[in-house]
């Protein structure tokens, strides 16, 4: 019964959320382009799917993904699990949270490697570069970037260091890389940061951060809980730029070698 109440509430909210898109499409089509709407029936059926699907997804999120992320974070950072006894620790020792880092790394990698929009981007990157950038190479690079990013973000929450320092350093690295990277990969690399953080990843990772910051002694969810997603969208930019640079460099070297061989002959 309580589930139906939850679901119907979410359903009504969803309806309100999807309305702006429908209004936008209809008004542009009718008043600016002045054309009838093509495939009206498909659009209506699709719209119903979107609303119902979104409402189901959000209720599932509330019941599964958010609690799951928090429970895992709580269990893995529980003092009895880490220190073996229920002693109250005032200052957490960041070395003791090894399992948290491993979990962060693996969940970052796992959510990214199967991400549909990343697969699409990898396909396009292969096209842009004329085959220099390997699809699997790029996907692994991005997934590694997200994994390292979330791990570092978890370390930040445990150690309580300020978020902006990490982001500032990350930005500086991106700027330096931008100067040296091959020019045609730059827009793609910048985009890969935003693409990786999908609808499933975001709630799970956000819950991990919030759960972690509420169990690690001395941390405040309002101050320390957020920021993991920022790491997950910054680090892929760095790894993709680095990967492109490496591929560019090694392609150049092969060419140079070939030339030298030809000259020798």
């Amino acid at each position: 019964m309580s589930f139906f109440k939850l679901f119907s509430g979410i359903f009504l909210e969803t309806l309100r959320d999807v309305l702006p898109i429908l209004l936008l499409i209809v008004s542009f089509q009718l008043f600016v382009l002045r054309q009838p709407i093509p495939h009206l029936r498909r659009l209506i059926v699709g719209g119903i799917y979107v609303v119902v699907g979104l409402a189901l997804f959000l209720s599932g999120l509330e019941k599964a993904l958010f609690p799951l992320g928090k429970i895992m974070a709580t269990q893995l950072s529980d003092p009895t699990f880490i220190y073996g006894s229920k002693v109250a620790v005032a200052q957490p020792d960041w070395m003791a949270y090894g399992w948290i880092y491993l979990f962060a790394f693996m969940i970052g990698f796992a959510t990214t490697i199967a991400e549909p929009s990343l697969i699409a981007v990898a396909f396009k990157a292969n096209e842009v570069s004329g085959g220099v950038i390997n699809q699997w190479g790029l996907r692994l690079t991005v997934a590694l970037g997200v994994a390292v990013g979330i791990t570092l973000g978890a370390f930040r929450i445990v150690s309580g260091t300020p978020l902006y320092l990490y982001i500032l350093v990350g930005y500086l690295v991106v700027i330096v890389q931008t100067i040296f990277a091959p020019k045609n990969i730059i827009p793609l690399a910048y985009d890969s940061g935003g693409v990786t953080t999908s609808t499933v990843t975001v709630p799970l990772v956000a819950a991990l951060g919030l759960g972690l910051s509420s169990t690690v002694p001395g941390r405040n969810p309002a101050l320390d809980g957020f920021g993991l997603i920022a790491f997950a969208s910054l680090f892929p930019i760095i790894t993709v730029l680095g990967y492109a640079q490496y591929m560019h460099w090694s392609a150049g070297r092969i060419k140079k070698n070939l030339k030298e061989e030809n000259n020798a002959i």
């Binding site: 089509q29 997804f57 799951l68 490697i113 991106v174 700027i175 910048y190 935003g194 499933v200």
Partner: protein
């Protein structure tokens, strides 16, 4: 007696549903494996509310596959057709209007953003940053969502202008980074984490395909623009500008 057409149609629907569900399951499988690995081998404790989590997980798979199916049926084709139509029409004013409206409306309905802003409101309420009433919580969450949506709208508008004028992307992005850092100095500490996260949250299921279609469509119509080089980059703006706007929102709310 059942008509053969009905059987055929039912089979087709069944196959589509099966394929969508399988796709969604393969997407989620790595996550399930990691969680199971940790739960069974390392934590070695029963997962509390196991049944509820399982049920919720099923809802997530079902909801996501329905949602994506609906987008592919209705929204994506019409969005792409409109992006092409407007680009061909050649009116700068309407193109920019469309860019803004597209960014705004797709972000307002973004599931990840809805979920995270609700969570952020709860955290802010527990931290006594805002009054812990139902009304102030939902108005805080809505404020967050609206500032993110407005900023994504503006970001797409700027990105479209960039494609039209052919500005190099890295100057704009580096300039944006500088503004983010300056805003960080003056923004209240409580908003910084969520503001930085807002950049990544905005760009997922609905926004990315539609916005990418707009960018690539525009770049392929304008002379002298390479769709592969200039078509990308819209999403980069859409994940940068929300940081700045949410910090601004924090300045107004927490001041």
């Amino acid at each position: 007696m059942i008509q053969p057409q009905t059987i055929f149609a039912a089979k087709k629907i069944f196959l589509t549903v099966y394929k969508k569900l399988r796709d969604a399951l393969t997407d989620l499988l790595p996550i399930v494996l990691v969680i199971a690995f940790f739960q069974v081998l390392i934590i070695r404790q029963p997962l509390p509310q196991f049944g509820e989590v399982l049920f919720g997980g099923l809802l997530v798979v079902l909801g996501l596959s329905l949602f994506i199916q609906g987008l592919e049926m209705g929204l994506f084709p019409i969005g792409e057709a409109m992006a092409h139509g407007l680009a061909r029409k050649g009116s700068l004013f309407w193109l920019l209007c469309f860019a803004f409206a597209l960014g705004f409306s797709t972000t307002v309905a973004e599931p990840a953003l809805i979920a995270v802003s609700r969570e952020a409101a709860e955290i802010a309420g527990q931290g006594n940053l805002i009054p812990q009433t139902e009304k102030s919580l939902s108005s805080y969450a809505l404020g967050l969502r609206l500032s993110v949506a407005v900023s994504v709208g503006l970001a797409i508008l700027i990105g479209v202008l960039r494609i039209l004028r052919g500005w190099p992307i890295h100057y704009l992005i580096i300039g944006g980074y500088a503004v983010v850092m300056l805003m960080t100095i003056i923004a209240p500490d409580e908003i910084i984490g969520i503001a930085y996260d807002a950049g990544g949250v905005t760009t997922s299921t609905i926004t990315v395909p539609l916005v990418a279609a707009l960018g690539v469509g525009l770049a392929s119509i304008i002379k002298g623009r390479s769709p592969l080089l200039d078509g990308f980059g819209l999403i980069a703006f859409a994940s940068l500008l929300p940081m700045i706007f949410v910090m601004g929102y924090g300045l107004v709310i927490f001041g």
